[in-house]
Amino acid sequence: MKYWKYLICAVLLIVAVSLPKFIGVYPLQMANIILIYMALALSWDMLLRTGQLSFGIAGFFGLGGYATMLTSTYFGFNPLLSLMAAAITAGLVAALVGYSVLRLRALYFAIVTLALGEIFRVIAQNLEITGGTEGMLLKQTMFKGDAASTYWVMLAIGVLTIIISIIFQKTRIHYASTSIRNDEIVAASSGVNIFKYLVIIFAVTSAIQGLVGGAYVQLYGFVEPTATTFSINFVLMPITMALLGGLYTTWGPVIGAVLLSVIAESLKLRIPYGHLLVYGIIMVVGILWFPGGIMGFIKKMFKISNQ
């Protein structure tokens, strides 16, 4: 009975890996977009499990993007190495900043992470070596834009994020983060070193966001500070997806990302003018019906059927 879960995961993985054999370039490109948002949503949720509400996704995303761009332009890093650089940069900066910022809670933390992202943006915009407001173009995107290869890289990032999330759920970190979320004082007095765990989780999730930012730059080949690389979209969309999918779970944000991306794209193709209106209505209705997200709803259903 316990093994069917692993079986499903294995089957899903095989299907995901062999997808380029069956579908064309456009669905693969869509899959890349879904994987980008999925990794962002899931990493955001991982930090939220400790009760820390981050609005700094775009900041670390952009930081990673710039790290990739700068290392491959000035030092000639190969694409995968530059992705590593993105993850390490974002993770290190997060760990450094985290020491002072993670003491804040709830909305205070949210605002400070948002402000940090804006500071990264202004720096990128005002420096010469980052290309100023006009941004920079990458000489060559990874694998020369080959759809299957880029998809596999994105899939690897997505799967990595899911695995990290599952590890966080299954190990001591899970108990630590849940107890931090529920009551910091109790957690501290029961011997959980709150701060160590918080910094680790913040650094890891930020590193994922940086990695995704790097991959974004490798996919689309440019950075541009004002409208794209630090766009508020990379804060709002992942949060929306995680909320609709269901918080504090691994599969909730995944479901949310797949569902909302597919809906957005198909609406756009069918209703060229005004598709965002329908999208907004779907969002409102969705959250009113499933206040706990889709995963919350599924869990509830299982409980009912078990009883």
Binding site: I33, G145, T226, R270, P272
Partner: protein, 433 residues
């Protein structure tokens, strides 16, 4: 609970249905042109309508090479990843033969890898950032219509020099540029500084936060401009900045000899604002050009007839030109074969509604750059009039810019214009009949 489950299942089925049921496959008959435009933006709306108009006209005449033309427009949403996906859809799902459209430079940057991968013939309307040009070096399939940023700058210098020759009192020794802090504005200022060094005049500039990005208070920049006391004041921003910029200039009493703006479009009813009198701008096209250019009149009338509306941005005629140039080339080539169409495009000679006759030449970097040029225009009595180049001029320049506090006369003429509006409407009715 059951109803909820049912509805959820229904929704899920609907969504998956939407995704898998592709647009009904059509016979390989029509020539397919794929367009990428930001449909929620004024430029994209004008552009897509004008493209539809062009395709309709072509098909009404029996299409090209005996085949109908099918236009597939996809919204790029001004988002890089969505634009790249849309390009993939056009090239792999819809299997289009040619790519057209394009507006923002930032979005074009994200499309470069995809365009290079597919290597289809691209006739690109927008993107002025010269970084895009560098990335397109040596790509023979890339045809670019809009002038590059450095070309525009050099062209403006030429224009002002000619204006100076004609108007003895015209002065432009000191110039202040207020520019929005994004790529559009700061790129312009960078270019301007180089030009000023060569042209030996003084230039100073400062960035402002555009209302499009949550700004809207320009007074600190305007004060610096006033302190500098320039002969010419130029602001590079968006339509959202237009009127507040002028109101705030009036508020602090700043009125230079020439007041120039270069937004891609103007706000609704800007023509009726008394403050607009004498404001100069750079644009490729104005509706009044129908009085001096026959191609412009034909386009403008057809657009009116089709949509009962006037295009508000030059992306209307530009996108119309975009389709027409491609159609002409296919006709000339007699096939949709890539090499043949590229050769035919190279011989393009199309009198466009923008006024210019389009031919492709070498630019600094790429091989196929059209010679379309912005014009100097001025708001006069609620209408956009072309001032320069002289061959398209529809009116004489008002110089100097009338000071804000001495506008009693100007506003009187504006009121006269308001009264004249019904007459204009009557004309419209005649056209309808």
């Amino acid at each position: 609970m059951r109803i909820k489950v049912f509805i959820v299942l229904l929704l899920a089925a609907f969504v998956t249905g939407l995704f898998f049921v592709a647009v009904p496959a059509q016979a390989a008959e029509p020539i397919k042109i794929g367009a990428l435009l930001p449909l929620a933006d004024a430029t994209g709306k004008d552009g897509s309508r004008s493209m539809e108009l062009a395709v309709k006209q072509i098909n009404a005449k029996g299409g090209i090479l005996g085949r109908q033309v099918q236009l597939i427009v996809i919204d790029d949403e001004l988002k890089a990843e969505k634009a790249a996906a849309a390009l993939d859809k056009l090239c792999t799902v819809d299997n289009v033969d040619f790519i057209v459209g394009g507006m923002a430079s930032g979005i074009t940057m994200a499309l470069i890898p995809g365009m290079k991968k597919y290597g289809k013939v691209v006739v690109w309307a927008g993107a002025a950032y010269s970084g895009v040009e560098k990335a397109m070096e040596g790509q023979d399939w890339f045809f670019h219509l809009h002038a590059w940023d450095y070309q525009q700058g050099a062209y403006y210098e030429k224009g002002w020099a000619e204006v100076k020759q004609k108007y003895a009192s015209f002065k432009r020794d000191k110039m202040f540029m207020a520019y929005e802090e994004g790529a559009f504005g700061s790129g312009s200022f960078k270019g301007q500084k180089v030009l000023a060094e060569n042209g030996k005049y003084e230039v100073q500039g400062e960035a402002f936060k555009s209302a499009a990005m949550g700004g809207g208070d320009y007074r600190s920049v305007l004060r610096h401009a006033k302190e500098f006391n320039p002969d010419q004041f130029i602001w590079v921003g968006y339509d959202k900045d237009a009127l507040p910029m002028m109101e705030q200039a009036k508020e602090i009493g700043f009125s230079p000899l020439t007041f120039v703006g270069s937004p891609p479009a103007w706000p609704v009813d800007f023509a009726k604002q008394p403050l607009n009198e004498g404001v100069l701008l750079y644009s490729y096209w104005a509706d009044t050009m129908k009085n001096v250019s026959r191609a412009s009149k034909t386009y403008s009338d057809a657009f009116h007839k089709e949509f009962k509306d006037t295009p508000t941005t030059y992306f209307g005629p530009l996108c119309y030109t975009n389709i027409m140039i491609l159609a002409d080339a296919i006709k000339k080539a007699g096939t949709i074969d890539k090499a043949a169409v590229i050769k035919a495009l190279e011989t393009t000679n199309y009198p466009s509604p923008l006024g210019d006759t389009f031919v492709f030449k070498k630019s600094n970097v790429i091989d196929h750059q059209a010679n379309s040029w912005p014009k100097f225009m001025q708001w006069q009595k609620g209408k956009l009039e072309v001032i320069w180049p002289w061959e398209y001029a529809t009116a004489k320049m008002i110089y100097p810019f009338p000071a804000w506090d001495k506008r009693g006369k100007a506003s009187a003429t504006i009121e006269g214009e308001k009264k004249a509006v019904p007459a204009k409407d009557a004309k419209k009715d005649k056209v309808k009949k």
